[in-house]
C-alpha cells in the first residue's frame, strides 16, 4: 500500500503536469492562426449634406460681418483682413461684430436665441476660428 506522503507527491506531480500542458496548449492556441469573424466597432457616420450659399461676385456695396470667436488675436487677423479688402473694395462696409454686439464674441454664437437676426444684416461673414 502506498504511503499518504507518496500519494500526495504523485497528485502534485500530476497537477503540475496538467497545468504545464494547459499553459502550453493555450499558448499554442493563441499562437495558432484561426479564422475570426469580427464586428466592426466604429459605427457608420451620420452625415447630412448642405450646399454652400452662393458667393458674392463683387464686394463693393456689400456689408461684410467680421466674426471673432474670442480666441486671442483673432480680432487682429480680421481687422487686417478688412484693411486689405477695403483697399480693393472701397465701397464695401465692414462691421467688427464684437464691437457692435459684444455678445457675438463667443464660439457659441449659433446657440443664441437671436442668432438669425444677428447675422441677417450681412452679405458675407468672415470668421476667425484660429487658436
Amino acid at each position: 500500500m502506498r504511503s499518504p506522503r507518496r500519494l500526495r507527491a504523485g497528485l502534485v506531480w500530476l497537477a503540475l503536469t496538467a497545468l504545464v500542458g494547459l499553459c502550453f496548449s493555450a499558448a499554442v492556441l493563441a499562437a495558432t492562426p484561426q479564422e475570426w469573424k469580427l464586428v466592426v466597432p466604429e459605427g457608420k457616420v451620420f452625415v447630412q449634406h448642405f450646399e454652400l450659399s452662393p458667393r458674392v461676385a463683387d464686394l463693393n456695396g456689400k456689408t461684410i460681418g467680421l466674426y471673432w470667436n474670442g480666441k486671442p488675436n483673432g480680432d487682429e487677423l480680421l481687422e487686417r483682413t478688412a484693411e486689405l479688402l477695403a483697399q480693393k473694395y472701397p465701397q464695401a462696409k465692414f462691421v467688427e461684430m464684437w464691437k457692435t454686439n459684444p455678445a457675438t464674441k463667443t464660439y457659441y454664437l449659433f446657440q443664441q436665441k437671436d442668432f438669425k437676426s444677428i447675422i441677417k444684416p450681412y452679405d458675407l461673414v468672415i470668421s476667425s476660428v484660429c487658436d
Binding site: 493563441a30 492562426p33 484561426q34 475570426w36 469573424k37 469580427l38 464586428v39 466592426v40 466597432p41 466604429e42 459605427g43 457608420k44 457616420v45 451620420f46 452625415v47 447630412q48 449634406h49 448642405f50 450646399e51 454652400l52 450659399s53 452662393p54 458674392v56 461676385a57 463683387d58 464686394l59 466674426y67 470667436n69 474670442g70 480666441k71 486671442p72 488675436n73 487682429e76 487677423l77 480680421l78 487686417r80 483682413t81 486689405l84 479688402l85 480693393k88 459684444p102 455678445a103 464674441k105 463667443t106 464660439y107 457659441y108 454664437l109 449659433f110 446657440q111 447675422i119 450681412y122 452679405d123 458675407l124 461673414v125 468672415i126 470668421s127 476667425s128 476660428v129 484660429c130 487658436d131
Partner: protein, 453 residues
Amino acid sequence: MRSTVEIEKAGIPTVALTTTEFVSLAKAAAQANGMGDLPFVVVPHPVGGLKEAEVRAKIDPVIDEIIYAATQYKGQKASADQSAEYYPAPRITVTGTVEDVNELLYRNGWTDGLPIIPPTEERVQYLLTGTDRSPSDIIGIVPPRMGVATVETVAAVAAMAGCEPAYMPVIIAALEAMLDPAHNWQALTTTTNPTAPLVVVNGPIVKQLGIGYGQGCLAGGPGLKANVAIGRAINLIGDIIGGSKPPDPDKSTHGQTANVIAMVFGENEDANPWQQPLSVDRGFARDANTVSVFPAEIPTNINDHESESAADFLKIVANTMAVMGNNNAYIWDTDVMLILSPEHAAMIAKDGWTKDDVRRYLYEFARIPYYVGERKYKTWYNVEGRIPRWAVPPSADSLMPIINNWKDIQIVVAGGSGKHSIYVSSFAAKSRMVTKEIRLPANWNDLVKTLKP
C-alpha cells in the same frame, strides 16, 4: 467652427480663417456638421501669444485667397445622404492569431494601443445580454466623427475593453450623459486642453458590480476590474465611434492618461458623514443608481495631515482650488469637483459643517487676485453668459471667484484611509457635469451572479 457652419446654412456665404495646426480639425468639424465644402483660408500657426504686427503680417500673403473664397469659390455639389443603415455593423473576417487581430484593429484606428479582446460575434452577443435594449437602438451620435453609437457597436467596444455584460447599463448611462448637450462633448474631445471623463457611480450598483469606491479607487488592480474596464470602454467609444484620436481631431496639447482609461469610481457612501451622496445632491432618490460624468481637467492632490478642524482644512482646500491656469478660473459658468477622503470628510462633519457650508466657504475663499489673471479676464470680458454682474468693474486687488455659483461645487466622498483629497477643475467652456439614472435590465440579478468576486 459650428457657428460659421450655421451662418452658411442660414444662407450667408462665409470665409473661415484658421491655422496650419487646426485646419484639419476645422474641416472635420465642418464635415461632421454637413458642410464639408466650407472654404478655409489657412495662416501659419500660432496666432495667440504673438505681437500685433506679427499677427497682422500673416494675413497679407493670403488676401487673394480670401477674395477668391468670398467671390468665386464653388465647392462641390452636395451629395445625397448615404448613411441610411446603421445596423447591423459590418463584419470582417480575419485569419491569424490574437496578436494579428490586435495589430489589424490598431492599424485601422480601432484600438488605443493596449491589447483588446477580439470583438467576435459571439463575444458581442454575450455583452448584449447585459441590456434589454435592442442592438439596433441608436444611443446617440458621437462627436467629432459623428459616428452612430448603436447598442451593438457599444457592446463591441465594451467587449474589446474587457467588460462583463453586467457593466453595460453603466456604460450606456455614461454615454447618454456625455451625449447630453450640457456636457459639450464635441468641444471636450477636440480641445487643446487635456480633458478626460471623470465618472462617479452612485447607488447599490456600486457594490453589486464591485466598482471600487475605497482604497485606491482611482487605481487599477485586484478588485478594481470594473473601474478600469468601464473606464477604458468609455474612452474607446470616444476614440473609435467618435473618432477622437490625437493628433487629429483630438488636439489635446499633451493629453492625460485618463484619456486612455477614464476615471471611474464609486462614491464611498458608507463613509459619507452627511449621508447625502452626489446622486441625492443631483435630485435623485437615495437608492437610485446613477452616473455623473464630469468634464475634468487634470486632478490635483490635496495633502493635509496636519489640520485638526474643518476651518483649518478648508483653508488648504480653498488655496488648492484658486489656480488661474484652470479653465474654470475665468470661464465661470460650470461645476468644479471636490473628492473628499473619508478622513477629511469626517473631520469636516465632526465640526458641524454641512456640505452647503463647505460650498459657501470655498466659494468665498477660493479666490484669485484680479491682477493675476487680468489679461484672461479682459480677453473674455463681456462674453455672453460668462461675465457675472459682480465682476464689473474690478480693481487690481479684487478677489475673483473660480466659478459663478457656490452651489456648483460638487462634493463626493471616496477613497480609503489616508489624508489626501482631490480637487478637479473643469474644462468649463459651455460644459457641465451631467447625471443620468442607470436603467437595469430585467435579468439584472442573474447578471450580477455571473460576476466573479
